[in-house]
């Protein structure tokens, strides 16, 4: 007798109503999701079609919610069908082989959670013209991520609780702990930049969780299994703090590299100040130099040491800077468009507008950094000149070969990235960027650059000379990300979207003319380093 098949068949017979609901919800979701790709807040369809589209999007959202809910219910019901908590269960005194029981439950979840999701991924990728057969590794990784981050935690909770209600309450409790921890991490430490600690920490946490499930099936020692799960929770919580410890940051961003990047301060900078509860936030202007052609720099975090003339010092923790990037962009003759045509030679035009905070800076330029200072120390130190020593955690970026494609009114393929289309603003009846659909994850970090036209579009399709640019994607290099939809739909709002006219008058929107070349340049991590700078005799601003 094959116990695995026998238990699987029994579970399938028992849970067919839940399975039917899950499959129906998944089908509805797959059917409705492509409609969301036609929609943005400003990309409104014609009046008559709007209601129908809203209805479809609502159905897509509700079916997605139902799919998630059914995963929860089905996992709980199938695991607790052979309840592992307590000693009054009928099955416990039957000759079940625990390995077969685990395998049967895993097979059930693979068949009715994993397989429908894989089919949904395949259909949606095909629907989005993203060739699913070219993403087999990513599809497999997505199913693994679903198993690790949805099914395993749900199964672990179900294995150490006796009812769906208790499992749900435990999950809510766990979510509260993680939420409070995230709030503490965000509010106190302000350290949120990604760390490679996760590469070790996440598998360890998942391993402990899986171990707890296996142990519970093998021995049914519920309190010990709960202890293991608590250990996994403690590791998750503790890992959040460890990730930003100075030792790990030092490991991640080694000091003393040969990076040409230089970050400096002006001699007498104008430092802006704002006060918060127990700290003072200073915005300090920076000068950035040494970013080489075809490369970039991303400032990930900063740590400040402040020293008074009397020798008293205060040092902050590492604080995230939310990935502000500095770069140098040149288009060379070696680059080709997707259609094989050569673009114009030479550097791209530089923005005529003063770059706003958070926008893209081309070439050697200046920037800003936010420094959080302990309020008590600031109060003590502001009466006299201080020395500021800044350490920057910097990720060096290396540009790949740019891909240049002509702008079109409808969908157009961008090799290596996915399917893009103009981002249309129905209010101004103009494009204001591009949106790109990519398979299984948001694109790798990509710099999008094109040229705006102020006047009417020319028949030859050549754009104007005003640069519009934006970043899209992230630096991760995994083939898939965790998420419900396999299609990442990312809008990129380009800079300089409208032309200023005069004081008191609304800016005039510019347009992206069909045929205008758009350059997509992918950036990857070239290295990580720490850059330091010291500024002496700084007079701190007074309270405002």
């Amino acid at each position: 007798m094959n116990q695995v098949a026998h238990i699987f068949a029994k579970d399938t017979r028992k849970h067919w109503p839940e399975i039917a609901i899950l499959l129906a919800a998944t089908t509805t979701w797959v059917w409705m999701t492509p409609y969301s790709w036609e929609w943005t807040m400003t990309n409104l369809p014609a009046e008559g079609a709007r209601a129908a589209l809203v209805g479809r999007l609502l159905l897509a959202g509700l079916s997605a919610l139902l799919v998630s809910l059914m995963w929860w219910i089905l996992t709980s019901r199938v695991v607790q069908g052979e309840n592992l908590v307590g000693d009054t269960q009928w099955w416990v005194t039957k000759p079940y082989e625990w390995q077969c029981l685990v395998a049967a439950k895993a097979l059930f979840l693979a068949a009715f959670v994993g397989a429908p999701m894989l089919a949904a991924d395949w259909i949606l990728l095909a629907e989005a013209n993203l060739r699913p057969q070219a993403h087999l590794a990513g599809l497999a990784l997505r199913i693994l991520l679903l198993a690790c981050f949805v099914v395993l935690p749900l199964a672990a909770l179900a294995a150490v609780t006796s009812t769906f209600a208790r499992m749900t309450l435990t999950a809510i409790g766990t979510a509260l702990v993680l939420g409070v921890n995230a709030a503490v991490l965000g509010g106190v430490e302000r350290n949120t930049f990604p760390s490679r600690l996760g590469l070790v920490g996440v598998p360890v946490v998942l391993g402990v969780m899986a171990g707890a499930v296996v142990f519970q099936y093998a021995r049914r020692r519920t309190w010990q299994s709960r202890g293991w799960l608590l250990a996994a929770l403690a590791l998750t919580v503790g890992g959040g703090y460890l990730a930003f410890s100075p030792a790990l940051v030092a490991l991640e961003f080694p000091q003393g590299g040969v990076s040409p990047i230089q970050i400096g301060l002006e001699e007498q900078p104008t430092i802006a100040m704002r006060t918060e509860a127990n700290r003072v936030s200073l915005t300090v202007p920076l000068t950035i130099a040494g970013v080489q052609r075809g490369s970039g720099a991303q400032m990930d975090a900063v740590r400040v040491t402040m020293e008074t003339a009397q020798g008293r010092t205060w040092r902050s923790g590492w604080e995230a800077q939310y990935g502000e990037r500095y770069m140098s962009v040149h288009v060379t003759t070696s680059e080709t468009t997707s259609s094989g045509a050569r673009p114009e030679v030479g550097p791209p035009p530089v923005s005529r507008m003063a770059p706003a905070r958070g926008e893209i800076y081309l070439g050697p330029t200046n920037g800003m950094v936010d420094l959080g200072i302990d309020r008590a120390f600031y109060d003590m130190a502001r009466a006299e000149p201080v020395t500021l020593h800044l350490e920057f955690a910097v990720t060096e970026l290396k540009a790949g070969n740019p891909v240049v494609v002509p702008m079109q009114n409808s969908d157009f393929a961008v090799p290596g990235l996915g399917e893009c289309s103009p981002l249309w603003n129905a209010v101004t009846s103009r494009e204001f960027g591009v949106r790109c659909r990519s398979a299984l994850r948001q694109p790798e970090l990509t710099f999008v650059q094109t040229a705006w036209t102020d006047g009417p579009c020319q028949a030859n399709g050549v754009g104007g000379d005003l640069s519009g640019s934006a970043w899209m994607g992230d630096l991760s290099d995994v083939p898939a990300e965790f998420g419900l939809s396999p299609v990442s739909d990312i809008p990129a709002v380009l800079s300089n979207v409208s032309a200023p006219v005069g004081p008191g008058q609304p800016p005039v929107p510019r347009q992206l003319c069909p045929g205008t070349p758009i350059t997509f340049t992918e950036y990857r991590v070239a290295g990580r380093t720490r850059v330091e700078t010291t500024l002496r005799n700084i007079t701190l601003p007074e309270w405002k």
């Binding site: 028992k14 000693d87 009928w90 039957k94 079940y96």
Partner: protein, 311 residues
């Protein structure tokens, strides 16, 4: 004789509460062993430890020659277990339940299954959740007997059942003996007296005795001594005398170590002027009532002594 179940110093604590205290037990092969005791005496705990449903705090239990803690998987295909407190797969019909458990047991006997279904008059197309308590117990019993287990463990199987169902279940059990060793617990002494070959008495987690039913019946006698001239004894009574009562002319007690003629001779020596000495056999229920009362009296006495010494 080989013991199908053997425990040595078996102890189970729940926090500070000691549910089992150094239990030494041996259930001989082929026996119908009744574990009796009041509610809360530790019967279910003992059965759960034996079945590896609970982990012992100390001591060990051996079942079918195997450490009870290793009792899982294939080993359970030799053991049938039915309990009044089990959570059954109530969504299944009786037929589906039997069909589901059948492949788990290599020794499943289809003919015996059919026989049991007929004997217990099981409604195959009814879901377990729609069955009466008695009918559910019969369905559970059928699923536990149809594979001809070497050991059948029953935790309060007859509790709350009407007499007819109880008799049907007992009949089903007796049909399986001695092929199957049966270990059952009950707090209703009358119901197990007629079927058990061995009996163990558990009180507050301690096994007071464990022996063959015949030997127990032989050992306990209700003694009535009609006195002549002498006064009844008031002090230094033998330990084997339980529930001693005396009036001016009659002494009554339960003798817990009766050896037939030998004991009769001893009593005649102790009561030389007795006009009559009667030694009547006792039903199981009376034996346990006598033991329980004696134990309670001892506890009350011990508590009073403790209280007195504290004062």
């Amino acid at each position: 004789m080989t013991a199908t179940i053997r425990t040595e110093g078996l102890t189970k604590r729940f926090g500070r509460m000691e549910a089992l205290s150094g239990v030494e037990l041996a259930v001989p092969e082929g026996a119908i062993y009744a574990l009796v005791g009041a509610n809360g005496a530790g019967k279910t705990t003992l059965i759960k430890v034996v079945m590896n449903l609970l982990e012992a705090t100390a001591g060990r239990a051996e079942v079918l020659g195997m450490d009870a803690q290793r009792l899982r998987g294939k080993a359970l295909s030799r053991i049938g277990y039915v309990s009044e407190n089990q959570e059954y797969p109530e969504w299944m019909t009786v037929a589906a339940m039997l069909e589901y458990v059948r492949p788990f047991y290599p020794g499943w006997d289809r003919e015996l299954e059919k026989h049991l279904v007929r004997q217990f008059e099981l409604p195959l197309d009814r879901k377990l959740k729609h069955l009466s308590r008695g009918m559910r117990m019969k369905a559970a019993m059928a699923s536990a007997l149809a594979f001809r287990p070497e050991l059948l463990v029953l935790d309060e199987p007859f509790s709350g059942l009407d007499p007819l169902v109880r008799d049907e279940l007992m009949e089903g059990l007796l049909d399986r003996s001695p092929e199957t060793t049966i270990f059952l617990s009950s707090h209703d002494l009358a119901e197990i007296e007629s079927v058990s070959s061995h009996v163990g008495f558990l009180e507050q987690g301690r096994l007071l005795f464990s022996e063959e039913m015949a030997a127990l019946a032989q050992r306990f006698r209700e003694v009535t001594v009609t006195l002549g001239d002498e006064k009844p004894a008031r002090e230094r009574l033998p330990e084997q005398w339980l529930q001693y009562e005396a009036s001016d002319s009659v002494v009554r007690f339960v003798h817990s170590a009766c050896r037939g003629e030998g004991t009769a001779a001893e009593l005649r020596e102790m009561f030389p002027s007795a006009r009559e000495i009667e030694m009547e056999p006792m039903p199981l229920r009376s034996i346990f009532v006598a033991i329980a009362r004696e134990r309670r009296a001892q506890r009350v006495g011990a508590a009073a002594v403790k209280e007195g010494s504290r004062a």
